[in-house]
């Protein structure tokens, strides 16, 4: 081992230790860890910057810009109130449709924003109906993480995987969409069995109050709403065809963000304040940290170790999905996935070498096709694993915060009772999906 390898390993291990302990904010650690690698000459400054995946950063920034405008429009409250009125105050139907809406919104926007906007109005409506909000909040946590699994932009692990493995928006939708729908259906069924009896409203009077709500009052600026929805719609259309157009997802997201900034006439200072700089800098530092491992040859060694244990695709996929799920339930899934990606890339290259002498582009396409089950296993495990505990994903923590203001606050234990078993069920469903779709010999 060279001094550089030792330094890279030490910085990486220390940084991950601090990130897991959560004593110091993860973004501070990521920035400092990345800087230390350059200070210790593990890599040059230019190399460090080259490890930062600006496709991920650009995609996140573009979506954050659009979301910061959409947030202002009141559209989430509008949808929630409309659902509550249409269902006539039926607790189960409200839970069902709120979950569906949360899943759809999380697939297209980020999970934290979705729950930030849907949870407060959910709590209000539940309390107005005199139903404890807890079942609704548990359902929304699960829905946001399951919905986020379905698309490239739904959850940060997917953005990382898509960018690194060069998988398109459409590929995510086609491959993870069906898995997410299957998991979601099973989850909804379980929620119905678990909570059905606890969802009856507190009387006809309460239902009348719900029916009397006026959702038009929550739309403060209809013109802004129209413009945001048009831009969001076009951006999603752009995502669906970005591969055909030869564009990266970040270009599409930034085009949407830029267009909405100009068309909405919004204050740029305010919009830039809403950008989650902590997230962006966390990713940048993390890319450099993982780059250090790559440069020091640690990942090659690790890939070799894994492959010497097994080179069976079935075992590898099952190992990845279950380990990712358990790890993501307790730890931050972003650094986990960031470190797994270059490892999987190496395993993929070793499993499927260019034996036929294909040219580079053709080999890349062929290899991607072959290694897809590995990537989908990682995405499903990391995203769905977040449902396992109250700290498994940022959206869970946000909802837990809101629930403090209700009669039935969520805590680690009362969430674990529902979340962990349902997460295991979802991973089982996802494993069956992976096996049926990719691993059975045809």
């Amino acid at each position: 081992m060279t001094v550089g390898t030792i330094a890279a390993l030490a910085v990486f291990a220390a940084a991950y230790g601090f990130i897991i302990s959560e004593r110091i904010h993860r973004t501070k650690i990521a920035i400092m860890g990345g800087v230390l690698l350059v200070l210790f000459h593990v890599m040059t400054q230019a190399e460090a910057f080259s490890f930062i995946d600006f496709n991920t950063i650009g995609l996140l920034t573009g979506m954050m810009l659009m979301i910061s405008v959409i947030k202002e429009t009141g559209v989430f409250s509008w949808v929630a109130i409309t659902i509550a009125k249409r269902t006539g105050g039926d607790g189960w139907k409200i839970l069902l449709w709120f979950s569906i809406f949360t899943a759809l919104a999380s697939a297209l926007l980020d999970n934290v924003t979705t729950v930030l906007l849907i949870a407060p109005i959910t709590i209000l409506i539940a309390e107005m109906l005199d139903i404890p909000p807890l079942p609704f909040l548990v359902a929304e946590i699960l829905a946001s993480n399951i919905g986020g699994t379905a698309t490239l932009i739904g959850d940060p692990p997917n953005i990382l995987i898509g960018s690194a493995a060069d998988l398109s928006f459409l590929a995510f939708l086609v491959h993870l969409g069906p898995a997410s729908i299957a998991v979601f259906a099973v989850t909804l069924l379980a929620l119905r069995l678990l909570f059905r009896s606890r969802l009856s409203p507190g009387g006809a009077e309460r239902e009348r109050i719900i029916a009397g709500m006026d959702q038009s009052r929550v739309i403060t600026d209809p013109a802004l709403l129209r413009r945001s929805l048009i831009v969001l719609g076009l951006t999603i259309a752009g995502f669906l065809v970005h591969d055909l157009l030869g564009l990266k997802p970040a270009t599409v997201a930034l085009a949407g963000g830029g267009a909405l900034l100009i068309w909405s006439g919004t204050d740029i200072e305010k919009r830039l304040e809403e950008i989650e700089w902590t997230t962006l800098f966390f990713f940048m530092g993390l890319f450099v940290l993982v780059g250090g491992l790559e440069k020091a040859g640690v990942l090659e060694w690790l890939a070799g170790a894994v492959l010497s244990a097994t080179s069976d695709l079935f075992l590898l996929c099952m190992f990845i999905i279950w380990v990712s799920a358990i790890a993501s339930a307790f730890l931050d899934n972003i650094p986990f996935v960031a470190a797994m990606i270059p490892l999987l890339a190496r395993i993929g290259a070793a499993l499927f070498p260019n034996a036929q002498g294909l040219d580079e582009a053709a080999y890349h396409a062929w290899q991607l096709q072959k290694t897809m089950p590995l990537w989908w296993s990682l995405a499903l495990g990391a995203c769905l694993g977040g449902n396992g505990t109250l700290v498994g994903a940022s959206a869970n923590v946000v909802i837990a915060g809101f629930s403090e203001k209700t009669r039935s606050p969520l805590n680690f234990r009362n969430y674990f009772r529902y979340g962990f078993p349902l997460m295991l069920v979802s991973i089982a469903v996802a494993s069956v999906y992976i096996i049926l779709r990719y691993l059975l010999p045809r």
Binding site: G74, S77, I81, A119, P120, I121, I123, L124, E127, M128, D130, P133, E205, R206, R208, I209, G212, M213, D214, Q215, S216, R217, V218, F402, K405, T406
Partner: protein, 151 residues
């Protein structure tokens, strides 16, 4: 111009053990925005702001939504009796204990500056360790009138 010359000496106070109905009554009968809570020996225990009192009857989740304009019927927040928890609440439980206070001997303009800086409606005034008065911006106006208006 000393605070002692302009402050209100006649105001309603409650004891640390006054229950909710007594506090509600003291607020509506006097129109005061804040009620000082005074111990038996005349010393100041704390102060209850009317906003804090109202929050007992408004569920916390109301804070979560940006606006409540879309709700036409607030009947779900009305009730005809106090809950058991509310029956047990007394002035001591609602008051803010860390209260900014002024001395009678200090300048009225210090009261003006403090009211403005801390965005307060009223500041309790103490003399000899006991609550002796309350000063508000209206009292400051009387001092300003004395200073300028009469000339």
């Amino acid at each position: 111009m000393k605070i002692g010359d302009y402050m209100q000496r006649d105001f309603r106070k409650v004891s640390p053990h006054t229950p909710l109905p007594g506090i509600a009554r003291a607020f509506y009968e006097t129109g005061q925005p804040a009620l000082p809570v005074v111990r038996a020996d005349g010393s100041l225990a704390g102060i209850i702001a009317i906003e804090d009192f109202i929050l007992v009857f408004l569920p916390q989740y109301i804070d979560l939504v940006r606006s409540v304009d879309f709700i036409r019927d607030f009947g779900f927040l009305e009730r005809t009796s106090y809950t058991i928890e509310e029956r047990l609440l007394v002035a001591e439980d609602l008051m803010r204990e860390e209260v900014f206070v002024l001395e009678e001997t200090e300048s009225v303009m210090k009261a003006a500056a403090a009211l403005h800086k801390h965005r307060l409606q009223r500041i309790p005034v103490v003399g000899g360790g006991k609550l002796t008065g309350m000063i508000s911006l209206n009292d400051v106006c009387r001092a300003i009138y004395d200073m300028e208006g009469r000339s």
